[in-house]
């Protein structure tokens, strides 16, 4: 029986640490698939102009493509080079909620993320995505320092 690990990337060096740890875990486990996930922060409850709405679908596709090209595809190439089976996915939404729902829908066994890259005022008010994920996740979460 193979294990599935979800690796949350954030496009920063901290995400690379999560990826490196996921790679190590996969090597130790042996039969394991990594699901590399990048979440574009988005809320359905924001206010937009009519013009922004009209162009939203087009922008969404561009955002997904950019995230794929800059973050997910290089990570998948890195994993392929190491001989690890991996898939990539880009989603919009709240980072913690989305990582958890990807995990549930894929039947994954664990989520690996790095320590939050957020800071300052926003973190004080809303808390970090990592902390929210740890509190709400349906599977074990490993936070890489």
């Amino acid at each position: 029986m193979s294990a599935t690990l979800v690796i949350g990337l954030d496009g920063h060096s901290s995400g690379d640490r999560a990826l490196a740890y996921g790679k190590r875990l996969a090597t130790l486990i042996g039969e394991c698939e990594l699901l590399v996930c990048y979440v574009i922060e988005w809320s359905p409850f924001t206010f937009q102009t009519p013009e922004e709405n009209a162009e939203r679908h087009m922008r969404r596709e561009k955002e997904i493509q950019t995230a794929m090209d800059r973050v997910v595809t290089p990570a998948l190439a890195d994993l392929a080079k190491a001989g690890i089976t991996a898939r990539g996915v880009v989603r919009h939404g709240d980072v913690a909620d989305t990582l958890n729902s990807v995990c549930v829908s894929e039947g994954a066994d664990q989520i690996v993320v790095s320590r939050s890259s957020e800071g300052g005022f926003a973190k004080r008010i809303f808390g970090s995505s990592t902390a929210n994920l740890v509190m709400s996740a349906s599977v074990p979460v490993t936070v890489v320092g």
Binding site: Q48, T49, P50, N53, A54, H57, M58, R60, S101
Partner: protein, 517 residues
């Protein structure tokens, strides 16, 4: 936007100190603009507001009310049957997680609301109550409730027949559903009606979506900093609108879109505080509303006068049947066009039944309208056209005085709210007008630029002209859109009923299910 307000107020303050001859010259320019404008738009306004033969009841008001009633009956009170479902849709209970990142039901509703909630709710209600008395509020609420069905019909069609381009952008609205819907039904004349609608939509964008906003924003600013020529406000506003729609400085529009909802909440919050503080008078105020609705309480035109004002201002405020919302709602991501119809029916409820009623209650409770202590009837002003007020205020100044009577500093907040509401409505309508313009003349940078420059010119004219001609033209242009739109909706409503029946049966059978529990 803050710096814009500061700039506008600073410019206005500086001008109040300008030499007297400059003032006179400017006033003359304002008067000249007003005169030319009133003459040019007179025949159009007269036609739209002409009464049924032998009565004083404008046919256009009857047109809107009959349509809203027909849609309410045809869809068997859809606005009440699917109200709870509409709330679930806005909450995202039925949104497919795979569609995250697309335009949500909430976003489409919020965008459409930011185009409608604004001066209609603040100044328009004051005009209705100032002329038709508190009784106009009753008819306004009724029009709002019935109008929910009109909005449902047009927004469903807006999504169903929108254009989706290869680059992923969308264009929708009555011009698209009229031409495509008529073709689908094999009816002739769809293209002609769509073109006619587009022409009126452009006029509506210049009128209610632009000039009325500039006019009342100027009235509000000059009410605080002192009287100064309207064209100054017009030029400042036009420059900022130009920067956004031509210069592409989207950040101004984005900031406004985020600030406006909070100003709306602040406005409703202030109204609630005033109502709570005057809790003992709410019963009396509703008594005035009901008594006025059926007896007139001495207003010009009696009960019919109150009814006309109520229906007119409700239509102007929530734009149900006008077709503008169908343009805004058509960008939503959904596999079921009818779901956007359900969501859109919340718009007249929020706009008219809640916000407009609050404004009307505050004006009534503040007792700005003068009554005869002996008869209890309202005292008419010298011309006899509207009710005499404590300081002779009309329009937005009346609302400002009513709020100011309870919260002395609120007129300053209201001034900022009015400017922001006016600006956000202008941005929304510049988009609606542009969509109609490109439908007529095709997409292209030059054609779009011509419209945008014209739009800015009308900002200046609107600020410089006096309220009477501006409000007449704004109403006439917006109602002209409703003439074409509603005519087409009568033919297309069977398509909406087919969608409604199919959706309702799938909802009952459990085929359509919530994603969130």
């Amino acid at each position: 936007m803050k710096s814009l307000n500061t700039l506008a107020l600073a410019a206005a303050s500086a001008l109040t100190a300008a030499p007297a001859f400059a003032q006179e010259a400017a006033q003359t320019l304002d008067e000249r603009v007003n005169e030319v404008f009133a003459t040019a738009t007179g025949p159009f306004v007269s036609f739209i507001f002409s009464p049924f033969p032998g009565t004083s009841f404008p046919w256009i008001v009857g047109w809107l009310v009959v349509a809203a009633t027909v849609f309410t009956l045809y869809f068997a009170f859809v606005q009440f049957r699917f109200f709870g479902h509409a709330i679930s849709l806005v909450k995202g209970d039925y949104s497919d997680p795979e569609d995250a990142g697309e335009v949500s039901h909430f976003q489409a509703l919020a965008t459409a609301l930011s185009g409608t909630v604004g001066l209609g709710n603040i100044a328009g209600v004051a005009v209705a109550v100032g002329i038709g008395g508190p009784g106009a509020t009753f008819w306004m609420i009724l029009a709002g409730l019935l109008g929910m069905a009109s909005k449902f019909t047009e927004c469903t069609l807006g999504v169903k027949y929108r254009n989706e381009y290869p680059d992923g952008s969308v264009s929708g609205g009555p011009m698209y559903y009229i031409s495509k819907g008529f073709d689908e039904l094999g009816l002739p004349g769809g293209k002609i009606l769509a073109v006619l609608f587009s022409i009126f939509c452009i006029l509506g964008a210049f009128g209610g979506g632009n000039m009325f906003q500039a006019n009342q924003a100027h009235a509000q600013i000059s009410g605080i900093v002192g009287d100064y020529p309207g064209w100054i406000t017009g030029i400042v506003f036009a420059a900022v609108v130009f920067a956004v729609i031509v210069g592409g400085i989207k950040s101004i529009a984005r900031v406004t879109e985020k600030v406006v909802p909070f100003m709306g909440i602040l406005y409703v919050g202030a109204a609630l505080i005033i109502l709570i503080a005057n809790f003992d008078m709410i019963g009396w105020a509703f008594g005035q509303i009901f008594a006025g609705a059926f007896t007139g309480l001495g207003v010009a035109g009696g009960v019919v006068g109150a009814l006309i004002q109520g229906f007119k201002r409700a239509a102007f405020s929530n734009e149900a049947g006008v077709g503008s919302a169908a343009i805004a709602h058509s960008a939503v991501k959904t596999k079921e066009p009818i779901t956007e119809g359900f969501v859109s029916l919340l718009e007249p409820l929020i706009d008219t039944v809640v916000i407009c009623t609050m404004t009307a209650l505050v004006i009534t409770i503040s007792q700005q309208l003068i009554t005869d202590p002996e008869t209890g009837f309202y005292v008419l002003s010298e011309g006899g056209s509207h009710i005499a007020t404590v300081d002779g205020n009309t329009g937005v100044a009346l609302t400002s005085a009513a709020f100011g009577a309870s919260i002395s500093w609120f007129p300053y907040i209201l001034a900022i709210a009015v400017v922001l509401f006016a600006f956000s409505t202008m941005i929304s309508w510049s988009y609606y007008g542009l969509k109609a313009w490109t439908y007529l003349f095709g997409e292209g940078q030059t054609t779009e630029l011509v419209f945008k420059v014209l739009f800015c010119v009308f900002v200046v004219i609107g600020a410089a002209a006096s309220l009477g001609p501006v409000i007449d033209f704004s109403d006439a242009a917006i109602f002209a859109m409703a003439v074409v739109n509603i005519f087409a909706l009568y033919f297309l409503m069977k398509l909406v009923r087919a969608e409604l029946n199919s959706y309702a049966s799938r909802l009952r059978s459990g085929e359509i299910r919530k994603f969130k529990h």
